[in-house]
Symmetry: C2
Subunit: 319 residues, 2 copies
């Protein structure tokens, strides 16, 4: 069984590749919910939805989030209420709204986020398990030079353009790893930390009580794919955020952050000259193509990651 | 100042006529919220919205509810979750969704329904005041031969096709008339009970503590328009519901229900032979055309109603 620790776009693309090389029923994605938020009373789970929409082939390939062929009638109609306090900076497409309406209704009926996410998987016909990191409410809060912001406010409203001075995960102390999370980590043949923002995508998952320790105890089987390529994030603010929070925006910076619980870091060909520095940070290093927007790269990357985790029970399954 | 006690479609059409004959700033609509409900976490106020959409000219004229030019992408996308517990029997159009999204967000920010409704009025550029009957949660519950149902479940899901054995207004004991409601009734020059279902549209408003007594004390200035024409409701289940609950489905039945707080009942030409029976029930009776789907009838009906309430201060204002 393969565990993927996942944020949004980068993780979803890795998972799409992974599902090309191992049977879906052997894959468990543990997904960040620190980005979850409530807009207009609707519970939005951006990373879970990006994983579901991407792996089911329904994602809008250009935006990287939301559904292909989307329409925006509800959002444009919301402009009528712009002067009356409507939140108009967060776009939810009409098709995507159905997911949030349904999820919100189910949660109001006292279903857990785990239960709703399992039903979401079924509704989209996906064969792998998707576990939210926790069923409790955790909210990634970003301290900035403009004051503390909710994650979506930082990321979408301010287009991650304001300097970050700190990050905290509100509610994390009361959070419990969702059913199956710690068990999956404990028993996985291989664990992949997907190429997602180390601070605000992987960070919340690690912060759920018990998860980081569980990974540390499986370190020999934990492989990470660097979300930083040639010093920059492929998407989003990971590079600036690392720098602003005192880390190095480089594969070496990632290696230092991950070394306690990751035994191998996969870095892009563009960073080949940093491989020794990564090893000096205490992790093995594999250099390969990690840019998954190119066809076939995701599957090859997944294969590389699984081989690096050396799970003999998995090798036989590679398709 | 003119007060209209309002339910949904019939009341909204009467208000549209009323606004043609008196200045908007002299009109106060007190609207039923017993139909309000929460779908998918969104607060829906069907009667308030029908009043707003109708008087602003945005209503879909054929359906009688919702917006003209509506699209249904979110609802059709919700079908994906039909096997996972999605409520798919209540249609909310994409444009209409914006209203519910915004209202739900505002209520979550602790705005009262009164405050939100005042903003709704502003957003649609309406000049008359719209007061929900109460800011508290009241839910019309319909006891049927299929068990107790929420109003929308009875009305929409079962298409008001199941026999009704009782009606109660859940939460009414704790409800307080919304700010301005009792004051408007106390000081109005004329009060019109609009042609809405007496049991489930006007009934909840009357049941708000203080409202019925306030109307009784203004009885001489209270006029009602019968929602029953020739024994039948123009729309909806008022006729069957009256019969099932032991009343007469006729203008006489309406007169008997309303006599304690209404001094004049306006009935349709089709019921002219019942005028004496209406008077025998203890209310004055005016016979005129009340079918507002025909052009000009709403304005003429409003003029008739105002003259019947004999508010000398109003006559000068009739336009």
């Amino acid at each position: 069984m393969i565990v993927a620790i996942a944020g949004g776009v980068g993780a979803a693309r890795f998972l799409r590749g992974l599902l090309q090389v191992v049977p879906a029923d052997e894959v468990v994605a543990i997904v960040n919910t620190g980005d979850d938020t409530v807009f207009h009373g609707l519970h939005v789970s951006p990373d879970i939805d990006t994983v579901v929409y991407t792996t089911s082939g329904a994602i809008d390939p250009e935006r990287g989030w939301g559904l292909a062929g989307e329409t925006w009638t509800a959002m444009s109609s919301l402009q009528r209420y712009a002067d009356q306090g409507a939140v108009t900076w967060f776009n939810l497409g009409d098709r995507d709204l159905a997911t949030h309406l349904w999820r919100t209704g189910r949660l109001a009926e006292s279903a857990t986020l785990s239960e709703v996410t399992e039903q979401l998987r079924q509704a989209w016909g996906l064969g792998f398990r998707i576990l939210p990191m926790t069923d409790q409410r955790v909210r990634t809060m970003v301290d900035t030079t403009n004051g503390e912001l909710g994650f979506q406010e930082y990321f979408v409203r301010h287009q991650h353009g304001v300097p970050v001075t700190g990050v905290r995960f509100d509610g994390i102390d009361r959070a419990v790893a969702a059913p199956g999370v710690l068990e999956a980590i404990a028993t996985a043949d291989a664990i992949v930390v997907c190429p997602s923002n180390p601070i605000v995508s992987i960070g919340p998952v690690l912060a759920v009580p018990g998860v980081r320790d569980a990974l540390i105890s499986r370190r020999d089987h934990v492989v990470a794919v660097s979300p930083i390529v040639a010093g920059a994030a492929l998407k989003g603010p990971a590079d600036r955020m690392l720098t602003e929070l005192g880390h190095e925006s480089s594969v070496v910076g990632v290696a230092r952050l991950y070394a306690p619980f990751v035994s191998t870091l996969i870095i892009d060909d563009a960073d080949s000259t940093s491989a020794d520095a990564v090893r000096a940070a205490g992790v093995d290093c594999i250099v390969t193509d990690t840019i998954m927007s190119r066809p076939g790269v995701g599957a090859a990357l997944a294969r590389t990651a699984l081989l690096a985790a050396r799970p003999s029970s998995v090798e036989g399954h590679l398709e």
